[in-house]
């Protein structure tokens, strides 16, 4: 490749890069004055971190106990229940 061709290639690459930058600027709108949120989000984040996981209601414990009870008193139901899982 001749040196003249190399410089032409470089020029073409630079031109493509500029076009690409211009397209990117056009497609990504400026955030303007909305660079920061309207309120401080950190206290809400701290509250969320401190939140305790929701406890399991008694009804669900009762259902689990019933399920285990059926499996214990009717062992023949275990393979049948597994068949449906």
């Amino acid at each position: 490749m001749k040196p003249n061709d190399l410089s032409q290639n470089e020029e073409q690459i630079n031109q493509n890069e500029e076009e690409f930058q211009a397209l990117l600027r056009k497609s990504l709108p400026s955030i303007g004055n909305a660079a920061e949120p309207a309120r401080d989000l950190w206290p809400a984040m701290l509250r969320r971190l401190d939140e305790k996981p929701a406890s399991v209601p008694w009804f669900d414990w009762a259902l689990l106990a019933g399920l285990l009870g059926v499996a214990a008193f009717v062992p023949a139901s275990i393979p049948v229940l597994l068949y449906y899982l």
């Binding site: 669900d60 259902l63 689990l64 019933g66 399920l67 059926v70 499996a71 009717v74 023949a76 139901s77 393979p79 049948v80 229940l81 597994l82 068949y83 449906y84 899982l85």
Partner: protein, 148 residues
């Protein structure tokens, strides 16, 4: 941007039954080849291995589709599923010779006898199990995957 929520719903649905597949398969293989159980258990694998996970995935997709118009908790939605799966599973099991209907009860896998009187508690136990799994496991996965 399309975030493909239905694919995520399907994956969240199939997660739990798919997780249990290797364990069940191992159990079946141990029974058949270690304990030399003569009954052809592999006939019964088609329902839990092939149909149930797909149905769970599709059922979760349905839950997602219904959520916009009629939102119901995932646990309740899952508790409805045994009403469809149990008769379907029983039909398949009967046609494959896994389930024999007797005068006083049914016999599963030629060895597990369940009297008719105990079928109702077993059915309720299945509904309770489905409710709990859908509420806690599928619900958690739906939240984790950002569709709930």
């Amino acid at each position: 941007m399309n975030t493909h929520p239905y694919i995520r719903a399907y994956l969240a649905g199939v997660f739990f039954p798919t997780l249990g597949l290797p364990v069940m398969l191992a159990g079946f293989l141990v029974l058949r080849f270690v304990f030399q159980v003569q009954f052809p258990i592999e006939r019964g694998l088609v329902f839990p291995l092939a149909l149930v996970p797909s149905v769970w995935g599709l059922w979760n997709m349905l839950w997602l589709a219904l959520r916009a118009s009629r939102p119901i908790p995932a646990g309740l939605h899952g508790a409805i599923l045994p009403l469809l799966l149990l008769p379907a599973g029983a039909c398949i099991a009967t046609s494959l010779g896994l389930l024999a209907l007797g005068s006083h009860g049914v016999t599963w896998f030629q060895s597990c006898y369940v009297p008719y009187a105990l079928i109702a508690p077993c059915f309720l136990a299945a509904i309770a199990g489905y409710y709990l799994v859908w509420k806690y496991v599928v619900g958690f996965l739906n939240r984790t995957l950002g569709i709930a």
